[in-house]
Symmetry: C2
Subunit: 357 residues, 2 copies
C-alpha cells in the first residue's frame, strides 16, 4: 500500500518527512553523483521504498530543461523496415535512459497540428524516419531549436544531419551484379520519387548499368507500396521488350513484383525474371521469396543516430554530419547469379556477398 496522503502518489517531501530529513536530501539520493552520507541514503531509500516513491520526471524536466524524451516520427509501418528501425532505436534509447515519444503520421488528416502537440513536450531531440511529413516537422524543429537527425534520408538543405546506408553504392552494385549475371534488359521500379533514397538508389543503378555497357533502364513508379509495385510490375511485364530483371527500390515492392510475376504472368523467378530488392527486411528471408537484396545494417545505423542525437543534446552547435553506412548485397534465390557465384542458398548457410571478397 502506498503511504501517500489522500490517495496521491508520494513526493520527495513525503519521503523526507518519513525519513526525518529535508526534501533536498531526498532529491540528492536520487541524483547520481550527488553527495549524501551512507546513513542518510539508507534511511531515505527505506522511506522511499515504504512509500512506493518514484521521482517525478516531469518535475525534473521543468527545472533541468532536459526531458530525456526523443520524438520519433514514422510512417509506412506496413513496410517491415520501419518497425525494425523503431524497435532497434527504441531499445537503444531506453538503454541510454531516454524515452521514445512516438509520432505517426495519419495520411487521412493534416499532421501539422499534431506535430505541434509533440513539440510541446519539450523533447530533447527528434528522429525523422519518414518521407512526407518531413518538411513541416524539420521546419518546426529548426524554429524551436530542437536537434534533428534524419534516418534513412538526407536533407536537401546542407544543415540537417542524417544517417543513411550508401544508397547509391547499393544501386550501383545491384546493377553490376545483374549485368554480370547476363541480364540484358534490367528495369527499375521506383519508390516515392521525391525521396532522397529513391533518387540515390536510382542514380547508382543507372550509373552501374552504364558502366556495364547497358542502356538506361525502363523505369516505372511504385511509390514504395505493395499495390503500387504490383501495378508497376504489370506495366513492365506487358511491354514488348519485357525486362529480364527488375530492381525494386525496396523489398516491400520486390515482394509484390515477385507475386505478380509468378501468379499473374506465370513466370518463374529467377529463371524467367530476376528480382532484386533493397533493405533486406525479414520477409526477404522467407523461403517463399528468398529475395536478393541490399542490406541496411540496422545496428550501426541506429548506433550512429543515437550517438549524433546525444552529441547534439550536449552541444547543439555540433557540426552537421551526414553519416553513410556501408551495406551489403545479400545473394539469395530471386535473381540469377553470375557464373561462379555459387548455387542458390539453402537456409542456414551464410549468404555470399557480391562482389566476392
Amino acid at each position: 500500500m502506498s503511504g501517500a496522503r489522500d490517495g496521491r502518489r508520494a513526493t520527495a517531501t513525503d519521503v523526507a518527512q518519513r525519513a526525518g530529513t529535508s526534501q533536498s536530501a531526498v532529491s540528492r539520493v536520487f541524483t547520481p553523483g550527488a553527495s549524501v552520507s551512507p546513513a542518510l541514503r539508507e534511511r531515505v531509500l527505506e522511506a522511499a521504498r515504504s512509500l512506493d516513491y518514484r521521482p517525478n520526471a516531469i518535475a525534473r524536466t521543468l527545472i533541468t530543461r532536459r526531458s530525456r524524451l526523443v520524438a520519433v516520427a514514422m510512417a509506412h509501418l506496413t513496410n517491415q523496415f520501419y518497425p525494425s528501425v523503431l524497435e532497434a532505436l527504441s531499445n537503444r534509447l531506453q538503454a541510454q535512459g531516454y524515452q521514445v515519444l512516438l509520432f505517426t503520421a495519419d495520411p487521412h488528416r493534416p499532421s501539422d497540428p499534431l506535430i505541434e502537440q509533440v513539440m510541446r513536450y519539450q523533447v530533447d531531440a527528434v528522429v525523422l524516419a519518414s518521407t512526407g511529413l518531413s518538411s513541416s516537422l524539420a521546419r518546426e524543429c529548426r524554429r524551436l531549436r530542437v536537434p534533428v537527425v534524419l534516418f534513412n534520408r538526407v536533407a536537401d538543405d546542407p544543415d540537417t544531419s542524417s544517417v543513411t546506408v550508401d544508397n547509391e553504392d547499393g544501386g550501383h552494385r545491384i546493377a553490376a551484379f545483374l549485368a554480370a549475371g547476363g541480364h540484358r534488359r534490367p528495369a527499375f521500379i521506383a519508390g516515392i520519387e521525391s525521396s532522397s533514397t529513391n533518387r540515390d538508389r536510382a542514380r547508382g543503378f543507372a550509373a552501374g548499368l552504364r558502366s556495364a555497357g547497358l542502356g538506361t533502364p525502363a523505369c516505372v513508379p511504385g511509390h514504395y507500396s505493395y499495390e503500387g509495385a504490383a501495378e508497376a510490375t504489370r506495366a513492365l511485364l506487358h511491354r514488348q521488350d519485357r525486362p529480364d530483371a527488375i530492381f525494386c527500390a525496396n523489398d516491400h515492392m520486390a515482394i509484390a513484383c515477385i507475386d505478380v510475376a509468378r501468379h499473374e504472368f506465370g513466370l518463374s523467378v529467377p529463371a524467367d525474371l530476376s528480382v532484386v530488392g533493397f533493405d533486406d527486411v525479414g520477409p526477404a528471408r522467407w523461403r517463399g521469396y528468398d529475395l536478393t537484396s541490399f542490406s541496411q545494417p540496422l545496428e550501426p545505423m541506429v548506433e550512429a543516430t543515437v550517438r549524433m542525437l546525444l552529441a547534439l543534446v550536449e552541444e547543439p552547435a555540433q557540426p552537421v554530419r551526414r553519416v553513410v553506412v556501408k551495406g551489403e548485397l545479400v545473394l539469395r534465390g530471386s535473381a540469377r547469379r553470375p557464373p561462379g557465384q555459387g548455387a542458390i542458398l539453402r537456409p542456414g548457410s551464410a549468404p555470399p556477398a557480391f562482389p566476392p571478397s
Copy 2:
C-alpha cells in the same frame, strides 16, 4: 526568429510582457473554454506568434496532474500484427490529443528498471500489448494506480480490463471450416503456450473439432515465431499420420508453415495441405501466401481500447470490462474449402465469410 531572451524558448511570461497583459491571461488564451475578451485574445495571439510561443506541456502536466501521455508497451514488432496495432492506436490517441510513450521490451536485458523509467513520466494510462513483460508492468501500474488496458490478451486476475477478438470463436470456426472441407487430420501449431490468446484459440479449435466428430489435434509449439513454426511444421510433416491441415495460432507462423511445406517437403498448398492462420495481417493478402485467416478487426479493437482508457482516466473506479470483438474467417487460397464455398479468390473480389451468411 524567436524573440525569447538569451536563446531560450519563449514562455507565457514573455508573451504577456509583449502583449502588455498578465501571464494568467496568456494561459487563458491557450486554455480551451477559459474566458478572455476577443481584443485581449487577439493581442496575445499576435504576441505569441511573433515569439514562436508554444505552451509547455510539461509545466501544464505538473499542475494539472494530467500528462496526456499514454504508455504503449510492445514487443514482437517483426510480427506485422503489432506494427499495425501500434499505428492505429497511435493515430487514434493523437487525434484525441494524447501522445504515445513507446515502451519496447528488449529480450536481451531485464525490462523492469526500464519500465520504472516510463512510469516516472506520469503517464495517464498504459496499454499492454505484449506477452511476457506483462506481469511486472501490470503490477507496477497497479501499485502506482495507473489505469491499464490489455490489448490482445486477457488477465488471469479478474480486475484488469482488456480488449481482444473472440479467440475461442475463431478457433472454433476454423475447426468447423476445416472439418466441412473434408480434412481428417487437422493439427495445431501453438503460439507462446502461456499466453491467453494461444490458450483460447487452442481451446476453441479443439472444441470445434470435437463438435465435428474429429479427435484431439496433434499439437506442436511454435512460440509465435517464424523459426519456431518452421521447426514445428517439420515435426508435424515427418509424422506417420501426416496432418492434412494445419491451423497456426498466428499468421506469422502460418507463413513459415507454408514455406516449409512447399520448399522443404514439396507439398502443394492447399492440394496436399491446408494452412490457416490467425490475425489477417498484411502478408496474408500477399499472393505468394494468399492465406486463409481469422481477422482481428483493428479499428473496433483500437476504438474500444481508447474509449476504455479515456474513461479510466476520467474515473479510475470504472468497472472492469473485458471487451470481446467479433472476428471473421477470411477465406483465401491456402486452405481447401467445403463444397459449395466457391473457388479460390482472385484479388479484388471480396472474400466470402464462413459460415456463409
